[in-house]
Structure formats: C-alpha cells, structure tokens
Symmetry: D2
Subunit: 317 residues, 4 copies
Amino acid sequence: MRSTEVKNRTSTDGIKSLRLITAVKTPYLPDGRFDLEAYDSLINTQINGGAEGVIVGGTTGEGHLMSWDEHIMLIGHTVNCFGANIKVIGNTGSNSTREAVHATEQGFAVGMHAALHVNPYYGKTSTEGLISHFKEVLPMGPTIIYNVPSRTSQDIPPPVIEALSCYSNMAGVKECVGHERVKCYTDKGITIWSGNDDECHDSRWKYGATGVISVASNLVPGLMHSLMFEGENAALNEKLLPLMKWLFCEPNPIGLNTALAQLGVVRPVFRLPYTPLPLEKRVEFVRIVEAIGRENFVGQKEAQVLDDDDFVLISRY
Amino acid sequence: MRSTEVKNRTSTDGIKSLRLITAVKTPYLPDGRFDLEAYDSLINTQINGGAEGVIVGGTTGEGHLMSWDEHIMLIGHTVNCFGANIKVIGNTGSNSTREAVHATEQGFAVGMHAALHVNPYYGKTSTEGLISHFKEVLPMGPTIIYNVPSRTSQDIPPPVIEALSCYSNMAGVKECVGHERVKCYTDKGITIWSGNDDECHDSRWKYGATGVISVASNLVPGLMHSLMFEGENAALNEKLLPLMKWLFCEPNPIGLNTALAQLGVVRPVFRLPYTPLPLEKRVEFVRIVEAIGRENFVGQKEAQVLDDDDFVLISRY
Amino acid sequence: MRSTEVKNRTSTDGIKSLRLITAVKTPYLPDGRFDLEAYDSLINTQINGGAEGVIVGGTTGEGHLMSWDEHIMLIGHTVNCFGANIKVIGNTGSNSTREAVHATEQGFAVGMHAALHVNPYYGKTSTEGLISHFKEVLPMGPTIIYNVPSRTSQDIPPPVIEALSCYSNMAGVKECVGHERVKCYTDKGITIWSGNDDECHDSRWKYGATGVISVASNLVPGLMHSLMFEGENAALNEKLLPLMKWLFCEPNPIGLNTALAQLGVVRPVFRLPYTPLPLEKRVEFVRIVEAIGRENFVGQKEAQVLDDDDFVLISRY
Amino acid sequence: MRSTEVKNRTSTDGIKSLRLITAVKTPYLPDGRFDLEAYDSLINTQINGGAEGVIVGGTTGEGHLMSWDEHIMLIGHTVNCFGANIKVIGNTGSNSTREAVHATEQGFAVGMHAALHVNPYYGKTSTEGLISHFKEVLPMGPTIIYNVPSRTSQDIPPPVIEALSCYSNMAGVKECVGHERVKCYTDKGITIWSGNDDECHDSRWKYGATGVISVASNLVPGLMHSLMFEGENAALNEKLLPLMKWLFCEPNPIGLNTALAQLGVVRPVFRLPYTPLPLEKRVEFVRIVEAIGRENFVGQKEAQVLDDDDFVLISRY
C-alpha cells in the first residue's frame, strides 16, 4: 500500500543521526478528547528547545489509551503541522502483529518519518515469534526497535536485534536495559538511544549511544539538549537527577502528567488508569523547579501545587 | 479539539473560488486495500490537468465502502503529499451525526481544507433535524453542503441552505437538482458547484454556478478544465456528452471504475457491491475514447476492452 | 465461520410463518448509550402483546446510528434474554458489502434467528451488483430482503428477488412498494411482509401478505396483533389510520421516538440527526391516544405532552 | 446500561464455587477468522470433561490478538450456545480503563457470567491508579482479578486486593505469584484460583485454593478434573508435570496451540506473533501423549508431529 511520493520520506540515516527525541505527552480536554491547541504548543516548545524528533503516542504519550484512529490522526496532524521542523516517529507498535502492521502502514501513509516498534508485551512470544513480528513491519519504513523489559516482561536479546540489522530500514534501538547492553550494541555499530533519562548522559558520552528518547525533555528540553550535544557534563547531569528520580517515582507518565499540569501547560486531565501524584509529591515538584530554575522549564506560569480537586479523571472518552 | 496551527488552513473564500473539483476515484490493490501508488498518480494527473480541488472519499471515491480509519488516513495522506498543490476536501459527511462530527474533527485535524457534508441519507430526518445535523459540523471549518436527492431520498430545501448561510464556514452547495435550483441560489449570492457533469457547462455559464464537482474530470481533466475556465463552449460540451451519458449508465462510480481500469491507470479491482460494466459497454467506451481522442484522457496506455476474468471483485478487505 | 451448534437455529420456514414482527425502538440513556432496562421492558411488552419477532437495529431501531459493536451486542443481548420467546431478526444489512458480510457473520454467531438485508442505499449499484451483494450474505442463514426505495433511492426489482428465491435461506421480502408489487410476489409463492403500517391490513387480507414488519406495534402491539391474526377488520384498520398517519408525518422513527417518550416508557433522549416532533404534534398524539384508548398502548403512565426542555439531543455518545 | 433481565445472571458465590476453569484456546480458519465449529467442539469437550467454567479470550485464548468486536461476539456466542452448561467468564480486562469499561459493559450485556480483569500491563500505573481502574469495572458484575506479573510487569499487591474485597461482585483472584501469596489470601477467606498448572495441585490441597484456571485442561480436562476434585494425588500431579513443563517451554499459548494442532482438534493456524514450537518439541509432545495415554487427551485422531509446512502463520485477518 506504500506510497512513492517522496515528499515526506526520511532516510534511515536521517533517523540515525537524531540525538534528542522527546516522547511527547498527549494533553486532553476535560471530556478526554485530545487538546490539540495544548499539543501544538508542546510541540512548538520542543522544536524551539532543540528536540529533533518526537515519539507520537509512545508509552509516555499514552498510545495504549488511544483508539487507533485517534493515534493515526495524531500522527497525521503532527506531520502536517510540524513535519518540516521535527522528525515525527509514530509509536505504531503493538503486541498484536495485525495491529502493528495496520497502524504502521497507516502511519507511513500519513507521512510519519519512522516507526517505533516494541516487542509483543503481555502476550509475549518465542524468539522466532519476535523476529517474525518485526519482519512484518520492517519493510514499511525507517524503524526504531524499543526494548523495555520492565514494561514488556520480555527482553529483546541481542541476537534478535542482530538478525534484524540486515534490514536497511532498521535505524536502531531504544534500549532501556543498561550501559553494558548499550555498549554491546554500539561496539557493533548499531545505533542506540537511551530509554532511561537518568542513564542517558553516560550512555551518550561513555558507551557510544547516539542520544536519548527522553521523557524529561518534555519539561526541560534545553537542558536535555545540552546534555546530549555539549559534551560530558557531570554537573548538569547531577543537577537533573532529582528531577528524573521524581519523574519516575511512579510508572511514567504519571509524574510527567502531574508536572506539566503544575507548570500550567496542559489541563490537569488524566485518562485512567493514570491518576496524579499525591500532594506531597506535587509540593516536592515545585521545589525541584525552584532548584533547577523555572526558566529552564517549559511554560510561562509559576509552578503550582494544585489541589486534588483540580484534577479530572476520565474513564469514558 | 481544533488546532490553531494555521499552516494548512484555507479561508472559506479560498474554497468558494474553486471552479474544477474532482471527486477522485479510490484505486485498490487485489486484496482490496488502497493502492496508494495508483492514487498518487491519479492526484498528480489531476493537478497537472488543472483540477483545483479533490473530494477524498466522496461517493465517487467510495467513502461509504471505507472504514473511517481508512478514510481519515486517505485524507491525511492526500494533505501530506499534495496539500500544497491542490485543495483537499474530505467527504466526512454521514447519515449519523456522531460519525460526521467525529470524522470532520479528525479530517480537519489532519489538515483537510474543507469538508463535504451530505444530509442524512437512508435514515433521513425532519427539517429541524437537518439543520441540527449541519450545525454540529459547520463550526469546524470550511464546508460544502451536498444535495443529491437521487441518492439520499431527501431533498435539502432552499430554506435549510439559507438558514445555514449565516455560518462563515459555509462555502456553498454541491447541487444536483437542476438549473432552476442552481439559479435560485446563485441569484442570492450562494456559491454553487454543479454535481452533474452533463449540466455543468450550462450551470456555469448560464445559471451562475462557480464550477463543478466532477466525475468526468477523473478521465478528461484538461477538457473539463476548458469547460469551466474558457467560456461558453457548446461544441466541447456536446462532444463530451456521450462520455458523460456512458459514465452514468449505471450508478456512479461503476462506469468510472470500469473506464479507469480500461485506461490502465488503476487495477481492475472492485469493492462490492460495485461490479464492472458489461462487455458491450466496455467496447463502447473504447469507441468513445477514440471519438474524443486518447490524448485527452488520463494515462498513457491504449484503452483496452478487458475480459470479464480480468476483474477482481472483493467482499472482505 | 458458521457454528454448527443447533440450539438457536430457526428454519427458514420458521421465519416465513411470522405474522407480526416489530421493528423495535432502541431507547437511550441521557449520555446516549443504550438504556437496556427500558429496552428489556419494551421487548417484554412486545412478547406479551403478541409480537412473534423483532427487528433489532432496523431503521426504526436506528441501526444506522449505532457502531457495529453496539449493534451486534444488542442482537446478542436480545437473543440471550428473549430468544426463547421471540424471533430475533438482526438488521445486519449495509450499503457496504464488507460491513454486511462481517455483521451478518457476527449476528448469526451470537444466535440471531434471521438477518434483514437492505439493498445498498446511497451508494446504489447495478442489478448485477445487487445480486452479487445479496449472494454474499444469503448463505449465512435465514434472510429477509428489505425493499424501501423511499429510503434507498433504488427499487429492488422483482427479477432480483426471483433470482434470489432459489436460496433455501431466502425467507421473503419486507416490501414497501405497494399492493400491486405485493400481489405480484405472493402470486408466485414468495413470502411478503408489508413494510407500511397503513397498508398492512389490506396487504395481509387482500393481497396475500403473510404479515407486517411494523412500527406501530411498538405502541399498540395488541391491536396490531388483532389486525394480522383475527381476519379482515376494516373498522379496526380505520381506527388506527390516524395514529399511523401521525407516526409518519416526519421520517420514522421521529414520531415513534416522540410517542414512546410521551407514554413514559423511554427517556426523552434522541440521538441526532433525529429531533422530537414539535409541540402541536405532541398535543395531537395525546388526543390520538385518548381516541384509541390508553389501555391499548404500551406503558402504564398517562400520556404526557412534554416540554421542549424535556428532550435531550445527543451528538457524541 | 445494565440489563435487569435475570436469566443469565450468576451470583458471585456461583463463581466462587468453581474448581476447574479452562482458559480455552481460540481456533482459527486458514484466513485467520475464528473457526467456530472447532471452537464449539472444544467447548463441548470441556463440558464433557468436567470443566465448570471457561475464560473466553484470555491470554491463552489470545484475546490480545482479537478486535473487541470479535471478542464480544465470541463471548456472546459462547453464552448463547453453552451458557446453560458452563460458566462463561469473559476476559474483558485491558490496560486501558476505557476499553475495560466498554468491553465489560458489553460482555455482561450479552450474558457473560463473570469478568476477568488484569491490572494495566505495559502502561502500568500507581497503586491508586490500580484501585481506580478496578473500581470502574467492579460494579458491573461478578469479577475475578488476575495477577500475573510475569506478563504485566507489575504485581498486584495484597493491599489492593483487600481494598477491593468489600465489593460484593469481587469473586476472587487468579493468582500466579506462588503458594505463599495464595496462602496469604486463603487465610483471609479470599477465593483463589491458581494460575499455574504446575502449582495448582499443591495450591488446591495444601494452600487453600479453590481451584485452577488451567491451560493444561484444554488437553487433558478429565485428568485436571481429577486433580481438582478427587483429593490429593501426588502421583497424578507428578505424571502431568512433564506435560505442563512442555506446555510452558515458550510463552503460552505457543505450546498449547502446537499441541492442539498435533491432536487434530484445531487447524494448524497461528495468528502472529505466535509461531509453532519447533520440530523437536513436536516430537517430544507425541512422546508425552504416549506416556500419559492418548485416551486422556482431547480428540480422536492419533497425535501427529506435523511438518513445518503444515502450519499457516497469519498477520492480516
């Protein structure tokens, strides 16, 4: 079904060169639909802050809480409005091969520059099944494989990645397993993005990673840009670690959603099963903002604590 | 949910000025999925032939045989690849207000320039219901209302159109009811596109219509451009009438689908309930092409008759 | 995909014998979801009133305003709760062959006793396309074909029906075209249900129709039962005509929806594009109830006029 | 939206008493659609073999590879054909609260007796989010909570279960974490089903579990029935352990799918990302069948090894 119109194509090499990719938050209206005005503002902030790519509907962007038509629409929207200024990487992965195939086909048809593919979480499969799954989608366009065993319950072992490396569309791996794994890949010339904000500085400067696919860059894009572009900087890394630790005190994107609402750049609306961090954590966030400097964070408003009642939790949307 | 990114916005006036809009055919692969390569080629041919807009997934494009995710994907694809060169008008109408609202919201989110909205066919409704239906979608962006009682079983009467004319997004009407109705509207300054190829010359030059939303322009875009742009031309109109008559000998797009397959620009694949025209009609088409001149038709190959066995009919896709 | 479990199967002859089939209303909660408690009560009333079958999600039941998953769920629910006491006929027809095939397969899988299939409205097709469309679904189970040109814009001509009569699953036709057409079929031994309440008495007793697929029986099931079972009764027919005329003063089910709300058996909730009848018509309905006798209507409460403000109109659900 | 028709209701106590529940396999046709004839035969075999309940579309039944409409249809079909003879427990859980709410509402509407709810896998959430998620669905009907950290990457800790135990619909927990956890719950009177075939004998007879939700019972229902009903039987348990070990040598249901195809009761069709076990494992299975006795397994045909070419792998369906 692939289109040959080249207008929106990016070479796999074009993807391999990206150092700062943000797994962008999806903001909601009070009825649970997408808040596209807030979304557009987040993307513009990312572009201005130096992010070179965005993951649309990643786990951070709550792709698993979207219907596929919402998801593809958001990819198409992002390409249409921002595709000239930032690489749009659609998380069209799924634990169902059928869904991954369908979504990836549609995502490339609406112009996404690359696909992010996770291994089949929850259902899991054999090594042969893993390879078969990825082989169904790799021919469609530039692809980043995503390894996050702490979510999928199943590590993608290096032999699988190596078996897929012959595909010209294989851009690299978003790897969450740690420095040793990163080094094992980069030694072989495989492009790696760190999937852990707290490890990305060392992965980048000590273990050969190309860059990061970041959650924290939703909040402090400029600082994350510095961390990836301006050479080793242990002081900056140290300064950011309390933020990163706070961000992941509960499963992501709970922290991020809470933080962006506190910064006044998204409405405090949560799609269940996510709920905001509790009051003491919100107080802590305001202190972290102060410590790092409000000017380094997205948005213009003062960071607020917000009351429990300020949050809207949605189960039907 | 509306985005404020202005990049893809077109003013309602920008829509009102279009004279030649093609209700473009959707071509299929043998398994029934979209054939995007053939589609892209059709759109490029339209742009080169002088069409200023396309209806994506109209009745001609078989929007009623698409799932909504296919439909929105095709709109997004068209905007992404061709939106700078042609106006993309998504047929996001439905006889279900819910579906029309959802699809229109998504269509504008992926960048379509205008929506085409039909009245609720089959289910039908009261005059009050008609107005309520259209009022749900008109605030979303530039809109063309489509009146085709021979499909919907219900005429949209002029008072409804007049009641909607106060909306700044109301671009005009694709009207199929005839010259008198066209004149009634154009006398009042309402923009009209003829929805009947065989009437469009007179509608344009004698009754004040702005242009046509055409099926025939899928086949002879240059001649339809002449018909709409180069002044009264009864001879050209006369020359085209046998083609137009042939095209509508069975419900559209049966004739068009058959013709484009015979011209070698789409695969001879039909989604049921459409089936190709019979052999004698296919023979007749080749003669019509000869009479009008092959060079005026899209595609480069010789027009072929095709055998019954050449056609693939699909019910599951 | 057909199951061979015979538990819920009904022979085609079992369908052919039904005289009173109600095209049952789908009631809604204030948020637009189905009101299953009210629905169950409506079905029980139909069973007690003598209806032998129900059409689930017909045009009266607003199948065209349902998502397919809602539609199949409602069929499955009806079979599960009431299938032992009333025949459940799912309106799994569509103008898209794909959708008709998918829905019919699912409907029979959840136990519906027969399918109702309309010809492709709005999109329309050729005679050959009509036959191809129906042939895709007829092998799946007992089938009633529905001919309503005032909605579909295309008559199903007798040769099509005759071509389909060889299928053992072909139960008969819900015919709306009038007495002459009815007689033409019944003379040939084809089972016919009148699709027009105001003609059903004469169709049944003078032109050989087996019975009626009725809207009015939602309101007065016992009287409609008499009309179909107890021999010619011009007086009763005459008595009911003002109600039938009122019911269809606007496209069905606008009148029915308004009436059932006035009778207190459903919430006054409308899915757009349907809106309630205006005040003067609602006053008229109360008078019609008085004339025919409240005891002949469904529900126990006094018929009320209801204010405009009592009605809830929904576009997102 | 809940129906009050009581015909298909089962009390929570009715669910709590079940000792042998089979997480039934979903068989496919060569095009990937459900093979309902084979499915019906599997269910009949379960009923005859003594299973008291089935999980429809569990992880074993590959609910994660179904569209929701397929899933609800299969629940409705099972209730309709077999609901009088076996309890039908729909796996209407999801990592998206919206999907869980929608599917559970639909599942109960088509008559399922209970819902199985997993915690949000992959996306994960906070403890507060977990509780909020389950509270959205618990009011809908009898519910079994499913804890399988090896798939979800997140343990449901006892305090969450205890917080939910106040709901009258809370039937119990399918627990995979081990004997100690099982005992912790059964000591408090919470109903537990073992989610691990190889532990279920001891869980049942030594740690107070009520029974098992079994994969192995797809193959040897009678022996699993003995294991749960006929008192401690270390010899039988020992005899079955090689089968259980074989079944889970790759992520379930890879082994089960392979085994049922080898036994000739389902077609050798796999929806990706599942692929069959390799030849040496298939040879091993035949030996295991011989050791346990062919007569104890489902089906009548001789157990076959099958060639690689016999298997059909499907990615679009």
